[in-house]
Symmetry: C2
Subunit: 330 residues, 2 copies
C-alpha cells in the first residue's frame, strides 16, 4: 500500500477545523503546541482498542470511532476533569475510505459534543486495526477525583445500569438472548457508551473516590478498595438493573452480569455521609440513574450481600470478557 | 493469557520511581495528574512502532525500548521543546519477562538521561508487538521550532551523518554489505538513534524551520518546503557522509542513501544568513556534525546539484524503506 494512501487518510483528520483557542499548532508539524490554562492540573489518559479483542472488526465503524474516544473521555470523567485535546494512533490493515469516513464521523461527533480537539497522531499500515487514543483534560489542583480517597462509612454509588454491555457481549458470543425489544438498546450500550462527563464534574468536592467501570463493577471497585486500603459491602439487590437485563436474564445471571460484565463505562464512586444530600440534589439533574449500592468498610475485602442477609455467590467473571488489558495499576 | 500476567507487566512500569516534582499523580489511577509550568506551551507528539514494520521483531529488546522513546524525543527536539512526560501503550502477543526486562532497561535508561517520566499507559494482549508512545515537553510561547518558517536565502543544515540507518536497513535486507569495521556502528545508528535534544534547544531563536529526518532527508525537507511555501537547492557533494557509508557503498549509492534512507532521526533545519555565525559558534559544542547542505529558494521545488553543476538523479527511494507510516501531514 503506497504511503500516499496514508497521506490521504491523514487528510481525514487534518481537515477537521481547529476550534479551541488553546491550540497554537494542531496537526501537521513534529508536535502539536498547546497552551494549558494557568494553575490547572493536566489529566492524561491513554487506551488502546484492538479489532476482535476490544471490538468486533465487523462492527459499525461509526461506533468504533465513537467508542475509541468515549473510553478515554470516561477516564477523564472518572477524574473529574474537563476534556480538551486528543491524539490518535491508528493502525489499519488496508485503506477503506468508507470505513474511515464512518470512523471519523463517530469520533468527531463525540469530540465536538465535548469540545475536544484532535491535535495529532500517527497512521500506520499494520497487521490488524488498532486504535490508541490519548485524551487530555484539566482539573483544579486538589479537586481531581482519585481512586485512593475512599473512607469507611462512605456510601458507594454507581451511575446508569451496569451490565447492559455485558449482556450485549454475551449475546454476541451466543451465550444469551436479548429479549424483545431490547436488542438495539443493549448494542448501543456496548458500541456507543456515553462518557459520564457531567457526572464526573459534579462529583468534584462531593465524592471521596471515583473510578470508571470498564472491567466490571467488582473488579473496578476492587481498585478503589486496594488503593484506599479499605473494604466494602455491596447490597446486590440494590443494583440498578435495566429492564433489558431483567427481561433477558434470570435474576442471578442479571446480577452477575451487572457485577462482572465489562465495557459499561459507568462511574462507581464513594460519598461520605455528610455529602449524600448534596449529591442526591445534584443527581436529580443527571441524564442517568445514580444508585446507592453499598458502603465502604474499615474491614478489608468485598462482601456481596443479598436482601435476605445471605452472601451472593459470584462465579466471576459472569461472562467471558474478551479483553485482556489493563491500565498500569500497581 | 490471564489478565494477572498483564498486571505483572504493569509492575515493570509502575515500579520505576517518580522523580519529577510536576507529576502530582503517576501510574495507577484513571488518569495521570500533571502540573505544567506556567506560561509555557505544551508540545505533544505520538509515534507507533510495529514489529516487522518499524523494527525487526527479533531485534535486541533493549534497543526497541530505547528507540520507542527516542523517535518521540526526536520530535520534541525538532520542536525545540524540553522533554517532560511520556505515556506508553504496549501490545504484546505473549508475556516474555526477559524481553520486557530488556525493553524497560532501554526505555528507562534514555528516559532518565533526559529527565522524562513515564506517567501512564496501557498494556494489552494482541496479535503483534505494537508500541505507541506519546511524549510531552515544553517550549516558551513563540519559540517552538516549526516547519513553516523557512525563508528564501536561509541556509539548510543537517546534523550528524544521514544515511547510516538506511545502510543498516539495506544490509539487513541483503541489499548492501557493511564494510569492516562498521557493522556495529551502523546497527547502533539504526537501533539506538540519539535524539538531538541539545541541538533542538540551541536552535531556538536561530533556526527558521526545523524537522527531524525520520522518513529520509529529501522527503522530510519536502515537508518544510511545502509548509513554508518555498523551494530549495541541495548541494549533494556537501552531504556529510559517514566513513561507514563511504566505505560500504559507491558514491552515487551513498548519496542516494543519505538523501532517501529513513530512520536517521537527525535534524534538518534552515537558518537565515544573519544568524549563521551564531549557529556555527554554538554548534562547535555539539556532539555531532552540523553541516550546511544547501539553500532555501523562492522558486518552488527541490533541486539536487552536484559540485560540477549538473543535476543529481535520485532514484527515490534509495532503498526499500519498510515503513508505511506518517504523522498527520496535511
Amino acid at each position: 500500500m503506497p504511503n500516499s494512501e496514508f497521506t490521504l487518510i491523514d487528510r481525514y483528520f487534518a481537515a477537521h477545523p481547529v476550534r479551541r483557542p488553546d491550540v497554537a499548532l494542531g496537526i501537521g508539524d513534529d508536535c502539536a503546541l498547546l497552551m494549558p490554562p494557568g494553575g490547572q492540573q493536566l489529566a492524561v489518559t491513554m487506551d488502546t482498542l484492538i479489532a476482535d479483542v476490544h471490538f468486533f472488526a465487523a462492527a459499525d465503524p461509526e461506533g468504533i470511532g465513537h467508542k475509541a474516544l468515549a473510553v478515554n473521555l470516561s477516564d477523564l470523567a472518572a477524574m473529574g476533569a474537563t476534556p480538551a485535546w486528543a491524539t490518535l494512533a491508528l493502525i489499519l490493515p488496508q485503506v477503506d475510505e468508507k470505513w474511515l469516513d464512518a470512523f471519523c464521523r463517530g469520533l468527531f461527533a463525540l469530540a465536538d459534543r465535548h469540545g475536544v480537539q484532535l491535535i495529532g497522531g500517527d497512521t500506520t499500515h499494520g497487521p490488524a486495526t488498532v486504535i490508541t487514543l490519548q485524551a487530555h483534560g484539566f482539573a483544579p489542583p486538589g479537586q481531581a477525583l482519585r481512586r485512593d480517597g475512599a473512607r469507611p462509612g462512605d456510601r458507594i454509588y454507581v451511575t446508569g445500569t451496569p451490565g447492559d454491555a455485558g449482556l450485549a457481549l454475551a449475546a454476541a458470543f451466543g451465550k444469551a438472548t436479548v429479549a424483545n425489544p431490547y436488542a438495539d438498546y443493549v448494542l448501543l450500550r456496548l458500541e456507543r457508551p456515553e462518557p459520564r462527563m457531567t457526572q464526573g464534574l459534579t462529583l468534584r468536592g462531593i465524592a471521596n473516590a471515583v473510578i470508571d467501570v470498564s472491567d466490571g463493577l467488582v473488579q473496578d471497585l476492587g481498585h478503589i478498595l486496594e488503593r484506599s486500603r479499605v473494604g466494602a459491602r455491596l447490597e446486590v439487590d440494590q443494583l440498578p438493573l435495566s429492564p433489558a437485563l431483567l427481561a433477558s436474564l434470570d435474576r442471578q445471571t442479571a446480577i452477575t452480569t451487572a457485577l462482572a460484565g465489562g465495557d459499561d463505562y459507568e462511574l462507581c464512586f464513594t460519598v461520605p455521609p455528610e455529602r449524600i444530600q448534596q449529591l442526591e440534589q445534584r443527581a436529580v439533574n443527571w441524564d442517568c440513574r445514580c444508585t446507592p449500592i453499598g458502603v465502604i468498610t474499615a474491614e478489608s475485602g468485598l462482601r456481596l450481600l443479598q436482601a435476605d442477609g445471605l452472601a451472593f455467590r459470584l462465579n466471576q467473571p459472569g461472562y467471558d470478557h474478551f479483553r485482556v488489558t489493563s491500565d498500569f495499576q500497581p
